[in-house]
């Protein structure tokens, strides 16, 4: 069982959360020239490291906020969590 620290509510069990994937993906800016390759990369291509991974989680059965988690994909250790407009401390 993962224990995830919601930046708004504190530590809660994994059961209260749902996953949102790679947090490093940026949607191409609207109103600018966007190549199809940019769109393909946005939709289909992700970071997939073995080790530290920056990802999104949703406190769906809690405060319903999205936030960021820095977690190790090999050990499942969670290093840090922060709000969407913040950066990790660790």
């Amino acid at each position: 069982m993962l224990e995830i620290k919601c930046p708004y509510c504190g530590k809660r069990s994994q059961n209260e959360f749902s996953y949102g994937g790679d947090a490093s993906i940026k949607r191409p800016q609207l109103g600018e020239e966007i190549s199809t390759e940019d769109w393909d990369n946005f939709v289909y291509y992700r970071d997939n490291p073995r080790g530290k991974h920056s990802e999104l989680w949703h406190h769906v059965s809690g405060c319903r906020q999205w936030f960021k988690v820095s977690r190790d994909t090999a050990t499942h250790e969670i290093f840090d969590t922060c709000k969407m407009n913040e950066d990790f401390n660790v």
Partner: protein, 418 residues
């Protein structure tokens, strides 16, 4: 190579079974090979076998970081089927089903192919319509499919919850009678033994640490047991594909996720088919030892750990008990996990790459085991001929740019949404 038969069994009984030949050798890596296959799982071993058998290429090495058959080929729930709706999948997996039917004879190794039938349960009229459509598509592609009604199923799985008041009443189901199971370890060992006998070097405890690429061409592989030259490399490493692709500066539409399975204590014969619950994440078959082999869905977050967490096991078994309430009395024997190379449309990638001589076989999601023979067959063709076989021509990398994706499950590029 010693042929396995009832006669060799009797003969060896006289010497207490102490004089059997080793099934495959343990060679030192040579300086150079015509083809190197990275990954000694089912797909890698099958690829080497078909390279030797179909294309006469025997100067081949399989490099395996651990031991052969220690990854997903030894961790899956052993199910075989070709009950797909899309043509690309239907043709590919049905070709595989035909190979499964004669695989024990071909490999002279009992892979315990058991065409016990796979039943997908439907729990609503809409689901019955969807299954009728899928069944019709399958039959148009020459694949066996039968639409079952509630009364048919009462005879086949009488212990399922057929009460009128249950949350997900069983309306019927779609069955592929030729679907079933095979012994996963035997598949790996059978391919290994035959490949070895034709001259393939199976090199275990040999981790690939880098690639020598020059002017867009592969020239060799760096390993924990020294550098090896080659002109062709096939990657068959499932969940670890991104780690190798990173060494080649290749970005792939793949995420690694952990998928768990579990078995109960062994009980007397009860469940004669493979059954999938249509209203949740649960499927089950009974092994020849009597254990209920059960699986469900991904844990739901990127992972390279070959173990999962309890919430998903609990979720899966909750679904299981909804359809088979009598399973609540079973004790759990073990649970385990494997790393899935989840592609962004749920279909595999078997293709050439932008590096000359590097070939890619990945993206099997949670369906790689049944594809072992067909994947090996077409990947061997792709490597030997330097062009894709017609059966894997749609499983290309380019589809994530052209938009011709094969999204059988239709969930979009978020593999953790089941």
């Amino acid at each position: 190579m010693q042929k396995y038969s009832v006669f060799s069994l009797v003969k060896n009984a006289f010497t207490n079974h102490e004089n059997w030949e080793v099934a495959w050798k343990d060679p030192e890596p040579k300086k150079e090979y015509d083809v190197i296959i990275v990954g000694g799982g089912g797909h890698g071993l099958a690829t080497a076998y078909y390279l030797a058998k179909e294309h006469g290429i025997t100067n081949v090495a399989i490099l395996e970081k651990g031991w052969i058959g220690g990854g997903n080929v030894g961790r899956n729930t052993t199910i075989l089927r070709s009950n797909y709706m899309f043509d690309s999948n239907a043709h590919f997996y049905e070709f595989g089903m035909k190979l499964w039917e004669t695989l024990s004879q071909e490999l002279n190794y009992n892979v315990m192919y058991s065409p016990r039938g796979i039943i997908n349960l439907a729990h609503s009229d809409a689901q019955m319509n969807a299954y009728a459509r899928r069944g019709n598509s399958m039959r148009l592609n020459g694949i066996d499919a039968i639409l079952l009604g509630r009364d048919d199923l009462k005879k086949m799985i009488p212990f399922a919850d057929f009460s009128e008041t249950c949350r997900f009443p069983i309306h019927g189901g779609l069955m592929q009678p030729r679907g079933g199971t095979a012994r996963h370890d035997a598949v790996a060992w059978g391919y290994a033994r035959q490949a070895d006998s034709m001259g393939v070097d199976i090199i275990q405890n040999c981790e690939v640490t880098g690639f020598d690429v020059n002017n867009g061409k592969i020239e060799g592989v760096q390993t924990s047991r020294g550098n090896i030259k080659t002109k062709k490399v096939g990657l068959c490493v499932a969940g670890s594909t991104t780690l190798l692709a990173d060494m080649l500066n290749m970005r792939l539409p793949i995420e690694a996720h952990v998928l768990q399975a579990c078995v109960s204590e062994p009980v007397k014969p009860l469940l004669h088919n493979v059954v999938t619950f249509g209203a949740g994440h649960f499927y089950c078959s009974q092994s020849d030892k009597g254990e209920m082999v059960m699986g469900g869905d991904l844990d739901g977050y990127n992972s390279y750990a070959q173990r999962g967490n309890m919430p998903m096991i609990q979720h899966v078994l909750t679904g299981g008990l909804a359809v088979f309430p009598n399973f609540s009395r079973l004790k759990m024997l073990r649970t385990w996990g494997g790393i899935m190379d989840m592609s962004m449309d749920g279909s595999p990638i078997i293709d050439k790459t932008h590096i000359e001589g590097v070939y890619l076989n990945c993206g099997w999601c949670y369906g790689g085991f049944k594809a072992t023979p067909s994947s090996g067959f077409v990947f061997a063709h792709t490597i030997a001929q330097d062009q894709v076989h017609e059966l894997n021509s749609d499983f290309n990398l380019e589809r994530f740019h052209t938009g011709k994706i094969i999204d059988e499950k239709g969930v979009g590029p978020k593999p953790w949404i089941g």
